[in-house]
Structures are given as C-alpha cells and as structure tokens.
Symmetry: C2
Subunit: 334 residues, 2 copies
C-alpha cells in the first residue's frame, strides 16, 4: 500500500515518470497488479474529473495524428497540460512507450506540458477500453487539463471512445461525397463537432464543398444533445489554421453542457455503464474459461442450428454455476 501511496503522491505532484509507471500498472493483467492499480485509482479518485475529455476519430488518411499533434502543440502554447492516449484493440505492444511516442507526434512529445501514451497492447476492445479509461483518470490526477483519446477507428472503438469522453470530434478530409460513405455506420451521429482537415492550398475549395456536404448530413440527424448543435469546421494541421476555432467550439460545448447539468449527468451515467460493462466482461471471460471446450461445443451447436440459443445459454450457465449435473442440460444432438 505504501508503494502505491508514494506512487500516488508523485503522480498527484505531476511526476511524468510516476504517471507512466502508474499507467503500466493499470495495463498489467497480473492479479496483484490489478489489485494495486485499483487501490491506486481509488486513492487518487478525489483528484480526478478535472480535465476536458476529448475523443478524436476519423477515417484512415485523414491525418489524425498530425492534427492531434498540431492541436496539442496549440493547447500547450496556451499553457495547458495535454495528455494523448491512443486506443487500438489491434495494436501490439511497441516495447515501452518512449520510442513508440517519438515516432509519432515528435514535436508534441518534446513538450513538458504534453504526455503521450500509445494504446495498451491488444486484447478485447473491452479490455483496451478499460485500461484507457483508467489511464484517463490517472492523467487527470496528474493535473492534465485536456485528455485526448485517439481512436484508430478499428471496429467498434469509436463507440467505446465516445462513451468515455465529454466531446467526440470527427476528423474528415476534403474528400467529401463518396468519403461520407467511408465513415463507419453510426459514427457521424456520435460527433459533437466535425472538422474538415487539410483545408489548405489546392484542397481548400474541396474542403469547403466537403464542409457543406457534412453540414447537410448532420442536418438530417437528430441532435445527440438537446443542449448542443454539432458544427462543421475547416482546419489545417499542416498550416496550423482553424485550431483556435476548434478550441472555441470545445469551450462552448463545455460551457453548454456544464450549465445544463448534462456534463455531470453524462459522466455519472458513463461511470455506471463502465462499472457494469466491466462486471459483464469479467463474468463472460470466466464463463468461457471455466469450461472452454463445453462452451465452444455449445456455441458451435447454436451456430450450426442444432441447439436453440436459449437452451444453450441455460446449459452454459448451469455449467458455470456448477449445476451441470442437474440433468437439465439439453442434448447436443437433436
């Protein structure tokens, strides 16, 4: 406990090495590490919640990393402490963070007020999301003013990110039109702000067209919040233009949601849902682990239409709850 206490003291003091070490602890799957991590997070809990939590997503090739780097540099120039966390269920541990960081967002990573952490190594989206959420709390305890969670946009990661941040920002490129269809289903509707990146030089006209197309697309969608209407802005990570307008929108969004009480309500609901999704994920892992072969066999029988899902579920539950000999287990062959 003293170990984690001293660690928490250094963390709260803003020691970046302590923060990195704490996140590594959070990312560990060793039971004793898990316990220590939970103790640490519980200890620093009163220091959390102070940051603006931003999620950034967008299709490949939109220049997400360069935009986040430019925006992060812009924020640090304003004197703000910025943490960037990536979430990528498909990622492979890049052997310690330092090198992994330097390769991307090189300028931002040199800033004292910036902390960049690559995605925890692969696993289920639930696992990666859990570790990212906990890393976000640690960054807040370490005094970061803005925490940016970047999704690589694999599978359902955008939804996981939208569920852990205050504001979800969708980055798009001047492609517009056809590219609209490249944006994964339902992602447009998660956006509290859409930013058309690469709005510079020859692409500026295309960016203006894309901007109006995205405005049209947003128009036909029911607003996500009664207190906020998503805007579509143009910016250039390369020329570092439009970043101030993006920051203005973020601050207006924060103001609108704080005054209406929506921010507090949303964070409370996010926390509640997070608790239950963790209980659920861990229970289902245990169900699989308890009887891997039987579970697999029942799953196959269901997929092949030999057993009704309901009956298979009852049987798997009976096995897990050690009532497997209750005779209620249905036959695998009809």
């Amino acid at each position: 406990m003293t170990e984690s206490s001293s660690l928490s003291d250094r963390l709260i003091a803003g020691d970046r090495r302590a923060l990195a070490k704490a996140i590594t602890l959070v990312e560990s799957t060793r039971p004793d590490h898990r316990a220590a991590a939970q103790a640490l997070i519980t200890e620093v809990m009163p220091k959390t919640g102070g940051a603006i939590r931003l999620g950034f997503s967008g299709p490949p090739g939109v220049g997400k990393s360069s935009f986040i780097e430019s925006f992060g540099v812009y924020l640090t120039d304003l004197g703000l402490k910025v943490a960037v966390l990536a979430i990528d269920p498909s990622s492979v541990r890049s052997g310690g963070s330092i090198l992994g960081d330097k390769t991307r967002m090189e300028e931002l990573s040199r800033r004292d007020k910036a902390f960049i952490r690559p995605s925890p190594s692969g696993g289920t989206l639930g696992g990666v999301a859990r570790r990212t959420r906990e890393a976000m709390l640690l960054c807040e305890a370490a005094g970061y003013d803005v925490v940016i969670v970047e999704t690589v946009g694999v599978g359902q990661s955008e939804i996981a990110v939208a569920d852990m941040v205050d504001m979800f920002i969708l980055l798009v490129s001047p492609g517009g039109g056809d590219e609209l269809q490249g944006i994964k289903r339902g992602i447009m509707e998660l956006a509290d702000l859409v930013v058309v990146n690469k709005s510079d030089g020859d692409l500026e006209q295309a960016a203006r067209r894309a901007q109006s197309e995205y405005r049209g697309a947003l128009h036909i969608m029911r607003p996500k919040s009664p207190n906020w209407t998503p805007r579509v802005l143009r910016a250039s990570a390369l020329k570092r233009t439009g970043l101030d307008a993006v920051w203005q929108q973020i601050r207006k969004h924060r103001e609108a949601l704080s005054e209406s009480g929506e921010l507090a309500a949303t964070r409370a609901e996010q926390a509640r849902a997070w608790m239950w999704s963790e209980i659920q994920d861990q229970l289902l892992d245990r169900v699989r682990a308890a009887n891997p072969d039987a579970v697999h066999e029942y799953e196959r029988a269901v997929v092949e239409g030999r057993l009704p899902p309901g009956a298979a579920a009852e049987a798997v539950l009976a096995l897990f709850l050690e009532r497997g000999d209750s005779g209620e287990k249905p036959p695998l062959q009809p």
Copy 2:
C-alpha cells in the same frame, strides 16, 4: 416430456391453439415452465428457420399497425401463412391475446392463415426480445411462411428487432424533412427498405418529396450489406397500393442474401450473439439479486464519483463469487 411432446406434435401440425399455448409457455418466467419451454424449442428446432423474418419499425403516427394489417392480408391472399409478433418492453399484458388482437388488425386476425400475438408483458428489453425470438422459432415450427416482428419503437427495441430478423423495414410518413430528425439515431442505417406510407390522395405529392429526401439520406450512408442496396418505396395501407412492390423487394432481398450466403452467415451470428446476450442478462440479473443492497450502494458510490468503476466492479464481482471476505473490497468512503 410427453406433455411437451404432444404439444410439439400439435404445434408442428399447425394447430394455432397449440402455438398460442406454446408461446404462453415461452413467456412464463416460472423455472419449470422455462425448462419445459427450452425442451419444447429444442424438440421443434429442426422444423425452424423456414420463414422470411421481417422487422417493421417507424415513428409514431406512421400507421404501422394498419400497414402491417394491409400487408398481412396481401400476403395471406397470396396463400402465405403470416405470423405477426409485437415487441414492446413497456407493454402491459392485455389479458390473453384474442381480445388484444381483435382490437388491432381486426381483418387480418380473422384470416385462417394469420396468427397475431401482442408483445409479451413488460420487463427488460432483453427479456421481451428473448421471448419474441423464441415465439418466432415456434411460429416457424408451426409452418408460418412470413414472421413479422413489429416494434413500437420504444428505446432500443428497433436494434433488438433488427438483430433477430432477416430484413428490417422502416415505415415513414409523408412528413419527410423535419420528420427525418424524428427518426431515432441509427435507425435509418438499420433499414434494408424504407416505405413511405400514406402515399394516397392529397398526401401523394408530399410522399414523393419525402421519398426523394429519404433517398438522399440513404445515399450518404454506407450500405449495411455488400449484397443489397436499400430502396425507398411509396405505398398506402389505406388504398392497399404499393404492397406488391414491397413484397417484390422482400423477395429480391431474400434472393440476394441467400445466393451470397449472407443470410445463413447472418442468422448464425444472430444465434451466437443471442446465446451470449442471454448468458449475460441472466448473469447480471443474478449479480444484482445476490446482493441487491451492496450492489446498489456500490453503484451509487460510482455514480457520485466516490469510487472508481473498476474498483466497484471488482468488489461486486468478489461479492457475487463469494470472495467478499478477501479483504480486497475497497472502502466506500475514500
């Protein structure tokens, strides 16, 4: 077992009273009824899967019931057996089905080839969905050619329905424009077919405008399936026009998804997901039931930001798995 055997025989023979009784068994929450229901479904499993499974949804006031009645009558006139199941987590048991049926879809309910069943009485969406899925299997075993699942469009029920059918049909009214925003987030994207109802008399022009607006809206969405492009049709439940075109689209959709193998793959994945969602729902119910007060207290601590969701999840799991005295339970007060 003989009870359920004879019941299954009569069910497979197409006896409507047997079907109604079987569905009532499936809707019961009594453990012995649940076991009998699972045995029954397991028994008739080989006779299931033969129907075209359709989901119908749409905003209030679109005339869903009257459209489904007109369409159902159209199908029975083609000599097809049609079952209509409703899904409404907020519904209250309407005292046996007969009266409940007659009040709505009166003409269809008089047809020998039609079977109409109101939504199971309230409960969680998961519970209502499970009972509806099982009722669908029973209807298939009873030889129904088309099973229509109607959602009242409360909460997330559209997604639950889309996850249990082969084709999801969105009904809209000539309102168009503003009404578009009335359609719940993400629902447009679930649609395999959009039908503008009430395209008759004075509303026909408005219906044409709505048709083109919905076409525009669908255009900017990535298609749900690589094998199918959703169309927007106009119809009138009142004048019973456009129903043949709707049926043509349904048959084309069926053909496209069968030939591509997508139908079989989708149904297999639906069954697998269904099995796991049942395991999950039942486990979470047990977690809550095992220690209701403690779970509620941990939930409140999380919602009020006094305890990290991860730590609360660990504590609730420890309680459920009877390791509550392991001393790892974090304090409720920081």
